[in-house]
Amino acid sequence: MALLLPGVGWLVLFFVVPLAFIFIVSLGSRDVLDRVSLASPSLDNYFKAFDPVFLPTFLNSIRYAAITTVLSLAIGYPIAYWISRYGGRHKVLLIILVMLPFWTSYLIRTYSWMILLRDNGVVNSILQAVGLTHEPIILMNTDVSVILGMTYGFLPFAILPLFVSIDRLDANLVAAGRDLYASGRQAFRHVTLPLTMPGIIAAALLTFIPALGDFVTPDLLGGPQTTTIAKNIQELFLAGRDWPYGAALGFVLMIVTLGGTLLALRTLRREVIGAD
């Protein structure tokens, strides 16, 4: 039991305590000098947080996170499958190669997308040199650049759990399916897919939840139409200097995300795994 202490201690110190701080701050209010005042704690900030002015940006955040998750799964699954099935001795090396971009700063990777996508950037230069276009296409500061940047950033998050799940799959089960006259596609649909569903769910969660709060990518790669709820929260803290309100909005975002995720998990488990 004592061996649990480091793990639990870590969780409490670095997760529960900061969360408690944010919650306490969200109950307070802003005094005249923009400092947090806990003189009369209340839940007022939470009622204010449901202001409809935040709805468009909240929907933006959900939209980007959802598209990023779907794309990451769609791209990540084949990659993980290929590495697992055909990687052989080089499996570990290939997975390391997939993870390698993580070692570079996330910010630098986002900036390199700017170099690729801007009006006189690499993509436009190539398109014009080849003759496909005559004027630069506007790629930067659009939905496209935001989704590209986010998918690229979160792809390793998706590939790793997918790989682990696919790798654990017993090839004999698939072989058994083929022996029973299943075609390649049927074997995939009825054997591989359900058995790797835990990995898919894990990958989806690991991508969707951070993507929902991603602030840097939409800010750097996006334009006026791509504002996210994370940006709103940041502005409340910095420009508005209203820490309690920002904290409450952040908490609401967290609870909505958590609630939605638990609901999705329960539905998926019951429908996909339970039914099989």
């Binding site: 061996l3 480091p6 793990g7 201690g9 870590w10 802003r30 005249v32 000098l33 923009d34 002015v53 935040f54 468009p56 940006t57 052989g88 001795r89 700017m114 801007r118 009006d119 006189n120 950037g121 506007i138 930067m140 500061n141 017993d170 090839a171 004999n172 996006g222 334009g223 006026p224 504002t227 940006k231 709103n232 502005e235 910095l238 420009a239 508005g240």
Partner: protein, 405 residues
């Protein structure tokens, strides 16, 4: 386990089994050992960092015995003491914001050793200064933030008897709105926010009005600053109102105009240098000083102060309630107010200072540039962005959120 393993995994399994058999461990005990080692290894660096951080001495403990200058100073002699009774000075500054010769001449004249530390954003500066200035004697708060710092007691009152050079300030700086009578701070540099453009992209046109940022011909190649006060300031001045207005009707007018502009705007960004040099933006709302950096890539890049009037900003130099060397600090402030020293700083930074007497020592190229040193009639049309009351600020911010959302 199935037999689809490659060689490496089998070796690892054999090693683990041998380990377990030799020590007569069950699988459960093996897992517990791995968990203990793993979490200890992960926690170790954190614990090491905490213990070294705790060993850093608290800033207040190293302060000298001089009383904080916020009380009426009793120990200050009337003429400027040379050399200074305090022998050290700690400055917290932007990089490249103080001429070397200014520091050296101060060190020589007052026999004080000057140490400079740096920050890169205003948030960093205020974080390092804390509630009483921390270890620092001199820093450069932006004028908009000065009233708040005065109210919180962070900034110390100045001893005017030590500031003999204060007469050098231009008349328009004697009573700034953010600090009446320069009681707590002295202006350092001032700049403008205006419009910059690449003439080649605009087909040789040379706009002079901020309405050029609403021109449909440059749609998707316009940028605005990601700063609510600057954006509203520009728009309110264009509409003929004050940039610091608290009138809700005027703010609504500005919001409507900004909403008209939004489909044309490519980005709201403070990275003006990056967006301009990338070619994405042809005309944008930029701070005056950024144009020098942009001109390194686009030599013909032009900048103008809108004919309707523009925004000017300034920063200040101040000392703080907890500063360890208050007298040396005020001597340094006085030193900065000297005509030649102020000119040396302007020649480095390419901003005008508030020092009327310094003009005879400033580089003529700077004096001749109407965007750095505009004629008096233009200077009179410039408006400084003030620190707004919380209620008024919320009015601006709720409209800004409506615009951006």
């Amino acid at each position: 386990m199935s037999d689809r393993h490659d060689g490496s995994t089998i070796d690892l399994e054999k090693a683990l089994v041998r380990y377990m058999v030799e020590r007569k461990l069950s699988r459960r005990e093996l897992l517990e050992r791995i968990a203990a080692v793993g979490s200890a290894a992960a926690l170790a660096p954190i614990i090491a960092a905490c213990s070294t951080a705790g060993a850093t001495p608290s800033p207040a403990a190293s302060a000298s015995a001089a009383p904080p200058p916020s009380a009426a100073p009793t120990a200050s002699p009337s003429p400027t003491p040379v050399p200074s009774p305090e022998t050290e000075l700690n400055i917290l500054n932007w990089t490249d914001y103080l001429a070397d010769e200014v520091i050296k001449s101060f060190e020589a004249k007052y026999k004080v050793k000057v140490t400079q530390s740096f920050f890169s954003t205003t948030d960093e500066m205020y974080a390092k200064l804390g509630d009483d200035g921390g270890d620092y004697d001199i820093s450069f708060p932006i004028s908009v933030d000065v009233p708040n710092m005065i109210a919180k007691g962070t900034i110390a009152k100045l001893d005017k008897s030590l500031l003999t050079n204060i007469k050098n300030l231009g008349t328009e700086w004697a009573n700034p709105g953010y600090d009446l009578g320069n009681t707590y701070s002295v202006p350092y540099m001032w700049w403008t926010t205006g419009v910059g453009y690449d003439p080649a992209r605009l087909g040789g046109e040379a706009p002079t009005s901020s309405k050029a940022l609403w021109d449909k011909r440059w749609s998707q190649h316009i940028s605005m600053l990601d700063d609510w006060q600057e954006v509203f300031g520009l728009t309110l001045i264009q509409l003929g109102h004050s940039a610091n207005t608290d009138d809700a009707a005027e703010l609504d007018e500005a919001l409507a105009l900004l909403k008209e502009q939004k489909p044309l705007v490519r980005t709201y960004s403070t990275d003006t240098i990056g967006t301009m040099t990338s070619g994405d933006i042809w005309i944008g709302h930029i701070w005056g000083a950024d144009r020098f950096a942009i001109q390194e890539t686009i030599p013909d890049f032009a900048y103008f102060i809108p004919e309707e009037g523009g925004v000017k900003g300034s920063d200040t130099v101040a000392t703080f309630s907890g500063s360890p060397h208050p007298i040396a600090a005020q001597l340094f402030i006085n030193h900065l107010l000297d005509a030649e020293q102020s000119a040396a700083n302007t020649n480095l930074i390419y901003y005008m200072g508030p020092n009327a007497a310094a003009k005879e020592f400033i580089d003529p190229a700077i004096l001749d540039d109407p965007t750095i040193n505009p004629d008096q009639e233009i200077v009179d049309k410039l408006e400084e962005l003030l620190a707004l009351d919380q209620a008024v600020r919320d009015e601006y911010l709720s409209r800004w959120q409506e615009l951006r959302g």
